[in-house]
Subunit: 123 residues, 2 copies
Amino acid sequence: MRIGELAERTGVSVRALRYYEEQGLLASERSQSGQRRYAENAVDRVRLIQQLYAAGISSASILEMLPCVVTGVAAPEVLAKLRGHRSSVVKQIEELQETLLQLDTVIAGATKTYATGVPCPPA
Amino acid sequence: MRIGELAERTGVSVRALRYYEEQGLLASERSQSGQRRYAENAVDRVRLIQQLYAAGISSASILEMLPCVVTGVAAPEVLAKLRGHRSSVVKQIEELQETLLQLDTVIAGATKTYATGVPCPPA
DNA sequence: GCTACCTCTGACGTCAATGTCAGGTTTCTA
DNA sequence: TAGAAACCTGACATTGACGTCAGAGGTAGC
């Protein structure tokens, strides 16, 4: 498929896809005229990249770990980094859960307070 | 306390603390000579700010919700935004949990593969 | 073959949360 | 009462993941 279709199917911009290629994260064949052609599995690859980005992992680290994610094989140093990222993700989850509690407390309190007619400062 | 101490106690840089003030997120008294003086509770405030930042909430949104978090009272529009942020945090957690599974799969697979002596590409 | 849309490269712009530097004042410690 | 260390404002620099624009060529439906 061409870049526009991949963009549409993944919800990632054309610009971002070119950027991924620039970073070595996403390969493409080229047509005679130089246009990018992607295989079907590029969709999954892009989603994986997005997922790792969302976990706060840099493109350099993603580049390093991608082949391992794909092949399921990793050198010891890479494995160590993977474990490092794993614990960082765990930590992020824990922090977000704490944030969630805070938000819930505020929402519950504010809802109740507001329901009881106590005056409240506007935004 | 002065800004250096607050920075040290929260693990946030002096520059960041000034930035928070600039954004209206963190107030300070000033000494005669103009130096910032913080109350004890500033430590908690800074931690809260960091927590919200970590949840991907912008300083503008934090500014909007901070008084509510502190007072426990929120106007309906603010409450709606709080709920929006809540669900975004929930989503982030879910995505991170999925990422965690991916990482675990890779780590488990790679560990096993490597243990059995299958050759593996270096980083 | 015309037209509308897609794609290409290259380069500069953006945005948010800081880093960093300069040049000057204040505060603490010996 | 020095001198070091901390603080001030103001301003420009940085970083990463893109957005956006220009100018040129490719592609598909009619």
